[in-house]
């Protein structure tokens, strides 16, 4: 795909999403709003796994940190009671800092061990959210997170959070586009392709990896912050499990690792399957009078799709330009 068609495709998708927000029903609009938030999360993970080639199995932890920083700074039960906007920025920075704190001492670990550390960190955060009840309210979650301002009807009309998510997503995409062609972006790709060669050329591998890790964590925190705000609450520990981390990784794999189009397409396909197609199929089957539900088979179908994808098209729906070249 040439850069020109790519640009038209991106603009077309954006236009379609803007128009969709105007005409969608609240239920459908809410679903797509969630998908947009998860696109931001997937793009964050894509920086770590896709760009820098570090396997990260605990992205949900940073998603959760973002959500809970937002919650703690805004809800009435704590003395801070910030407005949402500064809280969102604090959540982004705070998650990024958490990413640096985790990655700093562990980045020297070999590939798989880093993955395991991130997995363990994800579990620790989940249990911390569950057990630190006087800070996080445990499974009752922090609520209510107030609306960002009183000018707009944030809670009455789903469109405002929808356009907030879309707007932030567009900004993130523009930022990543710029970074891809910048010095640091190329350093990420170089480290991913061959760490030894890259460091022989004078790149500081640890520093390059750390920036990827921090940016990935910060974007995940940003996504978590918007997610929590649009739910009016932080969602509880079960929203930030290993399962979620794995699912977001699957978004990238299905869509195509290492490029923005792939991350977004994968998120739309899998979340669409999970949240929109499956209930629709269930409804349709029920109306035709059969006592059989598609959702029972949802997991098996998803698993089989992953296996078949890895066998026949491991580079994903939209392979990155580099993967495309390698396949030729």
């Amino acid at each position: 795909m040439s850069r020109k068609t790519e640009r038209w495709l991106a603009l077309g998708t954006l236009l379609a999403l803007v128009l969709f927000g105007l005409v969608a029903s609240p239920r459908m609009g809410g679903q797509v709003k969630d998908i947009l938030v998860f696109c931001i999360l997937a793009l964050g993970l894509n920086v770590v796994v896709g760009y820098a080639g570090l396997l990260q199995l605990g992205i949900a932890a940073f998603f959760g940190i973002g959500a809970y920083i937002t919650g703690i700074l805004t809800v009435t039960q704590f003395p801070f009671q910030w407005n949402f906007w500064p809280a969102m920025i604090a959540a982004t920075i705070g998650s990024g800092v958490a990413g640096v704190l985790l990655a700093g001492p562990t980045l020297r670990l070999r590939g798989d061990y880093l993955a395991i550390v991130t997995l363990g960190f994800g579990e620790v955060i989940k249990f911390a959210i569950k057990n630190l009840e006087n800070i996080t309210n445990g499974s009752r979650a922090l609520n209510p997170i107030p609306a960002p301002d009183s000018l707009l009807d944030w809670n009455g009309n789903f469109r405002w959070y929808y356009y907030l998510a879309l707007g932030v997503l567009v900004l993130v995409v523009l930022l990543l586009r710029t970074l891809e062609d910048s010095r640091i972006g190329r350093a990420w790709f170089a480290i991913r392709e061959d760490e030894l060669a890259a460091s022989c050329m004078g790149l500081n591998a640890a520093q390059v990896k750390l920036t990827a890790f921090a940016l990935g964590a910060a974007l995940a925190g940003l996504a978590g912050s918007i997610y929590a705000a649009s739910l009016n609450q932080t969602g509880g520990p079960d929203s930030y499990t290993f399962n979620r981390s794995i699912t977001v990784l699957c978004f990238l794999i299905i869509g195509g690792m290492g490029n923005i189009r792939g991350a977004i397409a994968g998120t739309f396909v899998l979340m669409g399957y999970d949240n929109i197609l499956t209930p629709a199929l269930d409804n349709w089957i029920q109306e035709s009078g059969v006592s059989w539900r598609f959702s029972t088979f949802k997991l098996v179908v998803f698993g089989l799709a992953l296996i078949l994808m890895m066998r026949f098209r491991p580079e994903g729906i939209f392979p990155s330009r580099r993967a495309e070249q390698e396949a030729d």
Binding site: M257, V301, M310
Partner: protein, 303 residues
């Protein structure tokens, strides 16, 4: 002191159970560097099969002799089932993508894990299910203050010979030697005339065999099974494998026992709800200060 001893007993018994599952992770990782995410769910399917067999035979209503025979039969069937399933998993799914980049088989394993979990869901539903109480919960010690039950004895009686047998097998048989050679260097092993694919197939089968045994023990001693049990226990067992030094057989056994002890002592002295976080925090700290695990040797990254 008695409380400490009691928690020691509990920790050792659950620890050996984790160790049995951990061996399946560590053997597969040692030989093809794949974190086999489906292994925990294989264990879950084994437990469901055990539940089906035990209920069909009606073991809880039988006398001691009948029950013993039934339990042995359940062990044999579940071990064979898990071994075969794990072998087929490698043959059908991982073998065709053997030379792909590392992420490809890893994602396939995640896919298999979802398929197994989905099958479990369809097979027995999403709720927790009671596993018939076949083994009496009788205390074998003379005192009331310290409990070592028939269930604990069963765990020790099954896991110890299995682990000893495996150690002997890997150390002294021809196939065991071939496994060690393949783990060290697959290319060199192939050049020496070892059928690497066959060795890998056996490795999966043995890992499955042990997971099958673990699943029956789990059902008989914990008495509750659910389609999610594979995920949680798999995560602990995998942590055990890493803790001991992934790819290292005695390491997996040690790691399993360490995790069992951390959980039992942690629930006594730190608080039940913090034990899981404690396990993973120890894992992170250990990896930071000793990246190759307790018994692992430092490997240099291949260039």
């Amino acid at each position: 002191m008695l409380i400490f001893l009691q928690q020691l007993i509990n920790g050792l018994t659950t620890g050996t159970l984790f160790a049995l599952i951990a061996i399946g992770y560590t053997m597969v990782y040692g030989i093809i560097e794949l974190i086999n995410f489906a292994h925990g769910d294989l264990f879950m399917l084994g437990a469901f099969l055990a539940l089906t067999i035990v209920s069909a035979l009606g073991l809880e209503h039988m006398g001691p002799a009948g029950a013993t025979g039934g339990i042995v039969l359940t062990f044999v069937l579940c071990m064979a089932f898990c071994a075969l399933l794990n072998f087929l998993q490698d043959r059908i799914i991982y073998r065709p993508i053997r030379n792909a980049p590392k992420l490809t088989p890893l994602v396939s394993a995640i896919g298999v894990s979802f398929v197994f979990m989905g099958i479990g869901q369809i097979w027995k539903g999403v709720a927790d299910i009671n596993f018939p109480d076949v083994i009496p919960n009788k205390n074998l010690l003379g005192t009331d203050s310290l409990r070592f039950t028939a269930k604990d004895l069963l765990v020790i009686l099954v896991t110890t010979p299995l682990m000893a047998g495996l150690t002997v097998f890997v150390r002294f048989t021809k196939l065991g030697k071939a496994m060690r050679a393949t783990a060290q260097n697959p290319t060199a092993a192939r050049l020496m005339g070892i059928d690497v694919d066959r060795v890998i197939g056996w490795t999966f089968a043995i890992g499955g065999l042990l997971a099958g045994a673990a699943s029956v023990i789990y059902g008989l001693t914990i008495n509750t099974v659910s389609f999610q049990m594979g995920y949680q226990n798999g995560l602990y067992a995998f942590t055990a494998a890493v803790l001991g030094g992934i790819g290292n057989l005695p390491g997996a056994m040690l790691g399993g026992i360490v995790i069992g002890l951390v959980r039992s002592l942690g629930s006594q002295y730190v608080g039940e709800q913090w034990t899981s976080a404690l396990v993973f925090a120890i894992l992170i700290l250990l990896l930071v200060f000793r990246p190759s695990g307790l018994l692992g040797t430092r490997t240099r990254e291949k260039v």
